[in-house]
Symmetry: D3
Subunit: 133 residues, 6 copies
């Protein structure tokens, strides 16, 4: 009785799951659904909830442009060491125009932030009053 | 003999440390140096090395514009829970034009990425072949 | 121009924010709203979205009883070192019946899991075939 | 001279290691030992110490029932992204009665806690006085 | 009903807790007990268990000398951002001879390791066969 | 258009990259370069910068001896769960004399520090005045 959850393909999915898959494909203008959603589909309520979150947070038309949003998602995923997330959000960022040079700069920032974040916390640096003004 | 390292002000700094402080202010076009550098100054070699890294990685003229770079630094710092870094890079991002609406969207992405990163890893989702092509 | 976001009290809140506050209080059977929501209220869309998530995930009537759900939320928050979250979910768990002895056992598990999680990962232990069967 | 430590089977184990293996099997009512212990066995002192900790912390008869304890261990392991630990504690939780629906709810809580933990910390939300009373 | 646990002083402690306090002071050759143990004392079983672990793992006479052990504990604590642990293990390391220059080098390594650890994981670098030989 | 970055061998590298490879081999007294640098080589500026950092921080002749430095790097890498880094810094530590017994003790400290770091933070233990004197 492994906990493993295999991806559920469209053909094998319930109506409720297919509705979410259809919305994912329509929103993204694609004809396929990636594995994250197919694995989440074992819990249709979580599938609908999480897709609703992603759809709202990553929607175009906000204060940040779509590429910047993907770069931010990618940077956090790289910082957290989530390989699948790097692959999926990296692909999304590339589809929105991210160049290899931009990806290199993003990685450099992720690495350096992790270095200085740890040093600042370890040294317990006091916040400068100017930052709070 | 506490390990605490108090900020070293310009007036109390060695020549070697002042040189770095001068370069920080000249590069940023400011007349002050924030506490992170003043605390690092207890180790002048690390001060020079880390400032050199930040200066190079965050330099304008790269593939990403300066605001996007600050947003990425800020997002990683928020994800890592480094309050000082949020304050300092938040101030830098605001100086480069970040609006409250953009900050709200950034936070939403940081939060959601931490949720999905954990789920993806826990579920051990296999990378879709299309992401590797 | 600090990034600090002060809690927005009911009296100072917009209609849209008050609607969420009202739903929080009605759902919980309380006459107050805790600071997390009042700070999130600077972004009414995020406030609505996150409350919707919490309301759905933590709803009674699922497969896990409400106390167990709070204990799980509390354990993850303790593992992540989120003090506010420990305070808020700790209070919620106590309201649902958590005793000091149960909290002690929860903390012991959180601590020990962090020890063995790191050792298992560092030692790169291979998953036993029986766990996958 | 790789650092890799292969599992040490019962037949190849020292008396001191076998004694721990025997206690693991007797305590659990099983006829096998999983790889974590077999890899730790390269350091018999650590093996004995860690098994002693697990045996004490996870013992039945405490304030939390055995299934709840396993769910908490599993939730922390999922939050930390330790795949082996998810597999082993997931199997233990299933053996104690965890259903797929309960596992889905546990994962939803782990994901959401990681989202709100990061937001609370980034927003530096002040603890409500009521939580401290 | 706050979850807060105040330190339990010797005079207010049970016999069972005093026994552990006595062993801590005798082992360390000191006449006081630091707050970590006094807070853990709310759960005497955990107090005894965790002190037993620390006493065994940090005991002199092993393969690593006592200063190196403290430096390792301090480095992990700095990497994890545990301020209390930095203060307590930093004091212990100083008592065993750590100089300010050594602490600076330790911090530099902690920072840099966090940078390269993230980059290596994000880039999914394949382990060189020579490291496995 | 995968984000994957394959190692760039010496023969396929640009002059600028070869210069760094040459310095790595000369500094280490080896005739090969490990995959981390070969993958970083896709961004020659980052390659030069990061190698410069490692060369400076890990240089012999400082306040900590070379083996202790490697043990600290290894401990942080183990705590962060970076398998490649464990393999590479583990090999470097072995080359500098780390014994299997020392590695076992290092792992025990990494594990225990992760347990107590979490407990201390969750319990919000107040720093003893003696640690600040």
């Amino acid at each position: 009785m492994s906990l493993e959850r295999k991806p559920i393909d469209y053909g094998a999915a319930s109506r409720e799951v297919r509705d979410v898959y259809d919305d994912i494909m329509a929103t993204r203008g694609t004809d396929w659904v990636n594995n994250f959603w197919k694995v989440l589909a074992h819990d249709p309520v979580a599938l609908r909830r999480l897709w609703g979150n992603i759809k709202e947070v990553m929607a175009p038309g906000g204060a940040l442009d779509p590429l910047t949003k993907e770069l931010l998602y990618l940077a956090v995923s790289a910082s957290n060491g989530c390989r699948y997330c790097i692959a999926s959000h990296g692909a999304a960022a590339q589809a929105k125009g991210m160049t290899p040079e931009q990806y290199s700069e993003l990685l450099a920032i992720v690495g350096l932030a992790n270095e200085t974040n740890r040093l600042v916390t370890a040294l317990d640096v006091e916040v400068d009053p100017r930052f709070l003004a």
